[in-house]
Structure formats: structure tokens, C-alpha cells
Amino acid sequence: MTTALFEARGVTKRFGGLTALHQVDFVLDRGIASIIGPNGAGKTTLFNIFTGLYAADEGGVAFQGRPLLGLRPDQITALGVCRTFQNIRLFANMTALENVLVGMHARIGLRVWDVLARAPRFRQTEAALQARAVALLERVGLRGDPNAVARNLPYGDQRRLEIARALAAGPALLLLDEPTAGMTQGEAGELMGLLRALVADLGLALILIEHNMRVVMEVSDRVTVLDHGEKIAEGPPREVQADPRVIEAYLGAAARQRRPRAAR
């Protein structure tokens, strides 16, 4: 039996008395998978568990056959699972270039001693890192000045920068939390083109959390639907779209929106 690239089994997470996730299974081998669901369905919580920010109460997560539970977020990143955030979390006062350079942290093999001594090794490494960072910025389509401070970038560029920063760690699996939020349909389309190209060129696997249904239907190979912390549907986009439970969840969600957020 070959192991899948990424595999989650029976993930359960409770906050106090509230069960945010209940027995969620998720498997991904290649391509783009999307996770959708109404607000409060547990999507971001699932990401947080995948990337080590939360510890799951039950269940297991494995990447390339290695269990991830119990690892710190930075260790998981070092293994090749990287993410972006729903509300952009750039290092606002650092430049675009520096943001990307931080993303490479896990891949830098220098010791403090190399830094202090400014050994040739250090110079070579820094030069190489910088070249790669510039290339990455261009790759995600950031055409502005790499030395611009992140907080001064336009919104769309901040989203792109966040992706570049995540790519800097050299992931095999990239988790994007609402990458098109706040974008126009045109920008979103452009971004999707980029994502598809990344998958094709780098052999990346992608997991998206997305609300923009057009995007989801267009790029996803598979869609997983969460509602109330439970997986209610999974499959190719067309199938999921037709699933009565999904339709009910989304229609019902309109009423639920007004309820106070419970999971805090």
C-alpha cells in the first residue's frame, strides 16, 4: 500500500463544550483540493490542526507517511507543509523581499557562528537566497519594488506576497486560506491561473479554503464540504454541487449567519 501525500484521519477538536470538528477524514495525493462550508463550519480550525497551531483532541494527520500531530508549526513547515492566512498576516514592517526571506528560514543551514564570522559560506548563501526570493516575487506576479515595505503594498499584492512567502519554504503541500478574499473576479481569475501553473510546474499539492464558488468549481480537482465540524460531502466539484446535503447546508447557512459566533 502506498501512502498518500497527505492524510488526516478522524480529526476531532473541541473548544470547551463545543465540538468544532468531529471525526473529519481528509486525503490528498496530488492536485488541488478545496474545503468549503458555511462560516463557522471548522475550515480554518482544520487548517490550524494541519499546520500544528492547534493540537487535535483525537485523530491523526500524516504527511508523506510521517505523523504531524505533536510537531510544532515550524517543524511541520520544515517538512514541507506551508500555509497562508485568511486575514493576511504579513510581517508588515519588513520589506517584500525580507518577508520572502523569512519564509526560507527553515531551509537555511547556517549556524550563528557563520553569521558572526561572515564566512564565505554566509555570503554565498545570502546571495543565493536573495536571488531565489526575487525570482519567487516575480513568479507570483509582484512586479513592484521588492524593497517596498509590506504594509504599503496594494491589497492584491499583499495576497500574492503571502503566497510567495509560503512558497519560499519550498513546500510540497500548500494550504491557502481564502486566497481570493477581497479580490475582484478578474484578480481572482488571474490568481487561479497562477495556482494552476504552480501545481503544473512545481508538482505542488494545494488545499484551498474558498468562498468564491466560481473559483472553487473552476480549479478544484476535489471538493470537501464541512458543516458544523463534520464532513458532509466530498468528491469532484460537479458531484458536490449537486449534493442535496450541501445545498441544504448552504441555504440553511443564511439563517445561521445571524447567530453569534459560538466557537471562541
Binding site: 473548544f15 468544532a20 463557522g40 480550525t45 497551531l53 492547534y54 485568511q86 471562541r264
Partner: protein, 323 residues
């Protein structure tokens, strides 16, 4: 080791610790109220507190100078001191918030904290400056109120003075009033709403700035009252004598669960008892190798241990993304 002695002083140490604990509890209220609403450590609260003590001593010295101190009944004098100190400290706390914290409310959380540390130091020397010009002295002695100093000998080894009872009664009364205020009144509801979610509170028509000012006012007033009681109980104050009690009161607030009013009382009493027992017994138990000089280390260790091992909202709060 002298066992009968150790047992003999036990009730007295217990009582001393309780009194100290109530004092800490009163000061802790100021920290806990502000933290509950803004998640902000009002570092300057220790000076708000000692300002209350200075207001008290100035009134007493004024009354003494005018020759009225002996003729007035002590409960009246004490009430006057408490009211005046609460007013001054409360207003000062609200003013500090307005000037030094409000402009920074949206900044990263360390920024207002640093500002608060600055206010704390600034106020210490401001008190010193004012008293130096006014009295040419800043170590001030509380004139004795004879009625307050009366002692009841309960047993041979246990006695209690009126002023100690006053501390306990006043602390309990104020805790009760505050508890009622926060939980049973409209203002209290508004305070709790702001604590829960400022944006939402303002949406339902609550003037958030006013409520925050009010929070500082109430917390400061509690501190001012504590200041008067501190002065009456221990006698000598200077501009710097608020700092260490303030830090310990903060410890008490954290110990009891910061943001939680009954918690402040529990924390204060536990800390007061711990400190009293450490100071009284450490020397006796170790034959003098360690002694009362280590009592501050006990308090600070409690602070460190509590913060390290009960890290409230460590990750859950920072990662407050929608689940």
C-alpha cells in the same frame, strides 16, 4: 525548634496576613477591572494607589494644623479621607487613561504597556516634586487617630486594632459594592459589554470611551481608598512606597484570575497569608539561615510560577481566528 511558640503566634500571623491580603485585594481591583475590560496592565495603578495615601495624609495634616483633628469623631475623619482620596485617585486614573493610553489603544499591546510604565515613573517623581515644594519633605507620617489605634486583646498572643478591623470591613464593603455595580446595574452591564466586544458594544449604542473612562475611574477610586487604608495602617508613606505593593497586588489579581472581581479578593488573601507566614516563620523554621528578607522573593516567585504554569489564553487567544 520551639513548637509552642510556632503554634502560639499562628493566630496573630493569620490575622496579619488577612489584613495584608485585604489590602492587596483592594489594590488588585484596579488592575483587574482595567484588565478585564481592555486586557491591559495598568502599570501606573500603584501610583494611583499611593496618590490616595498622599491625599489622606494631606487632609489629616491640614485638619491637625487647624486643630480640628481631636474634636472630630474618627469615623467621620476616616470617611472624609476615603471619599477625598477616592475622588482624586479616580479622576487621576481617568485622566491618565485619557492622556497616555487612549491615543495608543489601537497600537500593538506592548506600546500602551510601555507608556504605562512611563506614567508610573513619572507620577512617582511628580508626587515627590509636589510634596517637596509644598512641605519640603516627601516621607510623610500619618498623624495618629487614637480611636483607630485602640487594640482589643483577644488572647495573650492575639490582638487586633480598630484600624485593622476597618481595613477588613472597608475591603469587604467595597468588594461588595463593586460586585453589585458590575453585575446588577446598567453601567455594569455596559462595562461587561465593552469587555466582551468593543465594536459590538458601540454598535448597540454604548459610548465605549465613556465606559472605559468609567472603568479607570472606578478602579482608581478603589486604589485611592486602599491608599488611605494603607497609610492609616502602616503610618509612613513616600512616593515610591506604592510600587512594591502594587506589583504584589497585580500578582494577587493574576493569582485569583485576572479580570475577575471575587478572584482579586481570593488572590489577595492567599498572597497576604503566604507573605505573612513566610516573613514570620521562615526565620524561626530555618534557625535564622533565611528570614523575613525573603518574603518578596516568595511573592515574586508566585507571580512567575502562576504566569508560567497557568498561561491563560496562551495560544487559544492569539489564534483567535474564527473556527
Amino acid at each position: 525548634m520551639d513548637l509552642p511558640l510556632l503554634i502560639g503566634i499562628f493566630p496573630q500571623v493569620l490575622l496579619d496576613g488577612l489584613i495584608l491580603g485585604f489590602m492587596y485585594a483592594l489594590i488588585a481591583l484596579g488592575y483587574t477591572m482595567v484588565y478585564g475590560v481592555l486586557e491591559f496592565i495598568n502599570f501606573a495603578h500603584s501610583e494611583i494607589f499611593i496618590v490616595g495615601a498622599f491625599v489622606g495624609v494631606e487632609i489629616l495634616l491640614g485638619l491637625k494644623g487647624a486643630g480640628w483633628l481631636e474634636s472630630l469623631p474618627w469615623p467621620l475623619v476616616l470617611l472624609l479621607l476615603l471619599v477625598a482620596a477616592m475622588a482624586v485617585s479616580g479622576l487621576l486614573a481617568a485622566a491618565v487613561e485619557r492622556v497616555a493610553y487612549r491615543p495608543l489603544r489601537s497600537a500593538p499591546r506592548l506600546i500602551p504597556l510601555i507608556s504605562a510604565i512611563g506614567v508610573s515613573f513619572f507620577l512617582q517623581d511628580l508626587i515627590r516634586l509636589v510634596e517637596s515644594v509644598w512641605r519640603n519633605a516627601f516621607n510623610l507620617v500619618y498623624p495618629t487617630l487614637d480611636g483607630l489605634n485602640h487594640r482589643f486583646e483577644l488572647t495573650e498572643t492575639l490582638d487586633v486594632s480598630v484600624k485593622s478591623l476597618v481595613v477588613i470591613v472597608a475591603a469587604l464593603a467595597m468588594l461588595w459594592v463593586l460586585h453589585m455595580l458590575v453585575n446588577r446595574t446598567k453601567i455594569g452591564t455596559a462595562v461587561r459589554a465593552v469587555a466582551e466586544d468593543q465594536a459590538a458594544a458601540s454598535l448597540v449604542g454604548i459610548d465605549v470611551n465613556r465606559i472605559i473612562s468609567l472603568t479607570f475611574l472606578i478602579g482608581g477610586a478603589m486604589g485611592g481608598a486602599a491608599g488611605v487604608l494603607f497609610g492609616v495602617q502602616y503610618g509612613l508613606i513616600n512616593p515610591y512606597s506604592g510600587f512594591i505593593p502594587g506589583l504584589k497586588a497585580f500578582t494577587a489579581a493574576v493569582l485569583g484570575g485576572i479580570g475577575n472581581i471575587p478572584g482579586a479578593m481570593v488572590g489577595g488573601i492567599v498572597l497576604g497569608l503566604l507573605e505573612a507566614f513566610a516573613a514570620s516563620y521562615l526565620g524561626l523554621l530555618t534557625g535564622g539561615a533565611f528570614g523575613a528578607e525573603y518574603k518578596d522573593i516568595f511573592a515574586f516567585s508566585v507571580l512567575i510560577l502562576i504566569l508560567v504554569f497557568r498561561p491563560k489564553g496562551l495560544l487559544g487567544e492569539i489564534v483567535r481566528e474564527r473556527a
